[in-house]
Subunit: 210 residues, 4 copies
DNA sequence: TATGAATGAGGATTCATTCAT
DNA sequence: CATGAATGAATCCTCATTCAT
């Protein structure tokens, strides 16, 4: 029988992760010190080490728990009874609002993580998993639209999905160095226009690809 | 009256930058040590400091000289006597082939730089300048197309440009953790299709203006 | 709620200062390395930095705590119910015995500090404060003697004080490169004779005023 | 037959010494770099090493040639046909004006040298020689006065000389951290008064020493 | 179990000295 | 002879991790 309930332990673990996220976002992974995280979280350094074996594990956990969930999240937020097109459009909106309003820091965490990507195989795998998951889901939406006869028949589902995900992360980068909100809104509009123009061409006219 | 020719000095400077780029790509900025760069370049640590006052300056120079030039490069490679559409398509191709063939490491350097963005204002400015330059150029191409009656009249030049640049950087990210070449090629194709579908909608293509 | 008592911490701080004093005296400030001090004190380098933020601060603290207190010390050791002349004579004796017996190294520390004077404004201020304090106290003794009609009426209190302090420091210098004890004793005797001859000239001693 | 005349070589050597003195005074010995001296003197680093084998030798030479000469200098400036008292007073004046006007920097050089004293035996010896020489000369003046029946018969020549030299160097210290000129002048006056009061007591009255 | 003091390897930078040109 | 680029040992300081209390 543990002295503290498991729930209590978990909530302290999350408090550490919250503090760590703040600190990593503020100074980057390498420049953030364990002391910073301890101070921010209100724990002692020693205590931190009872929850995570190394500094690196804190970052890894953050990635695993807070970034890799993107795919499920999208899935949960969209797969109601919308048309594929509505779902796609919703994904774009979810992304934009997440960046702007809801979790602006999560987007930046991605960047910080990226710095580590080049060094750490585990981080890299976490990111690849996230990419794969997102793409797979978006591609499935496109395929649904094609099958429903709603999208052009020769639409390249995977490529479209990859473009959307890349665009999303590219925007995150761009945004992190200072894109104004106005751009963000216009980019959303034009992205949807381009997507629609490609997936749902005006008439029967099938353009030969470039 | 310098003992060594200016050209010689410059070539050694470039050798240091080359070594630094390699090392930064391999370990990231923070983890790369000045000793690493010295060893890789074949110079002594002391010699390095005759060319760059601090480690940070090496990175900054790399950014300035090897990333910030993107805008000029595109301009030089495209603005012949092509139509705006051809130029835009060319930009996409230049980017893809640069990523794949010509300077695979330069793309990744961008990522490493980004890690520093969050800490270092100077780096951030360098990146903003690069973003601004690229967007401005691409937007000007779109505007030319609009003026020439070749693109839809209500095309949002800036948003399109921002999307292309973000997409490019997102792809770079994506690619750096392992996008296969096949994806890259398909993404290029679909990107151009989407772009065309948006800029040159079937209807607009028949009657250029009123 | 500190883990260790404040007293314990202070004693370790003093141990570091002791070690530092030894090392500074042995090699001078610039040549003394932080490692030297660590080794001498039995602490690790890292531990040192928990007590003093920089090497320079160790020296500054030494100055502040072990040199700047000269004025108070003199004041405490003399101002009983002696005549001003007795107090002055006592100061000279205190100085001589301090140099010879009690804190021979403190005197030399002064010299090392001086070397830094030329570079470091903070050290300079510490020394000026010490000078000022000593002179002020000695001058007050002289003024008391004048007011009591014990010393010549036109005695220049400040100049006398400055001379005594300068002499003391000059002797410290001299002594640090090897004045034998015998000189020291003779200098004390003659200094007092000169002082008396000046302050209490034969004529003045007969009719205190008018 | 050397390419350059010996005189030319010597003048360049002196130029280096001048530059070195400036630099040492400005930053202290340890903080002064060979590059600083090279730059200041207009020579290349390599050239410097053709005149002095090490940085330390430059300082040593400075001491030997510019500080050790004090004794001869005093001798030359005073030993005319003055009375011993006039000569002593002249020494005091020479010192004061040297400090204030003529070679203010030489005095400070002494201080810088002292920092090294603690490390370097050669420097220490140079300083001891200087002390010895000055004391010997001043003591001889006192003895002449005694023999001439001009000074009190029991005057302690060596102690008086040591006091004067110590005072002089102490004043140099004091002055180097910021004694105003006014003090300097008053100290000179009082020093002479004390000296006279001791050496030439008003009447036959022989005071018993303290 | 929690604390935070201590450890010490590691990193950026400097600078006296050498030596190829 | 002169130059000044190159060398690399040495220095100050940081911080992830451990462990006595």
């Amino acid at each position: 029988m543990p002295k503290v309930t498991e729930g209590h332990r978990e909530s302290r673990r999350q408090a550490i992760l919250d503090a760590a996220q703040d600190v990593f976002l503020g100074k980057g992974y390498q420049l953030a010190t364990v002391d910073d995280i301890a101070t921010k979280s209100g724990f002692s350094v020693g205590a931190l080490y009872r929850y995570f074996p190394t500094k690196s594990d804190i970052m890894l956990t953050l990635l695993e728990e807070r970034l890799s969930r993107g795919p499920e999240l999208l899935r949960r937020l969209t797969s109601d009874r919308e048309t594929p097109w509505e779902s796609l459009a919703r994904c774009v909106d979810i992304f934009v609002s997440a960046l702007r309003v809801r979790h602006p820091s999560t987007g930046r965490l991605l960047l910080v993580a990226w710095g580590e990507t080049l060094q750490d195989g585990t981080v890299r795998q976490g990111l690849q998993r996230r990419f794969g998951g997102l793409i797979e889901y978006l591609a499935s939406l496109v395929r649904q639209g094609v099958e429903a006869g709603d999208f052009r028949r020769d639409a390249d589902a995977t490529a479209v999905a990859a473009i959307l995900v890349s665009l999303a992360d590219g925007v995150t980068l761009y945004w992190s160095v200072g894109t104004p909100d106005v751009y963000l809104h216009d980019m959303r509009t034009v992205t949807l226009q381009m997507l629609k123009a490609y997936l749902k061409p005006p008439a029967a006219r099938e353009e030969p690809s470039v």
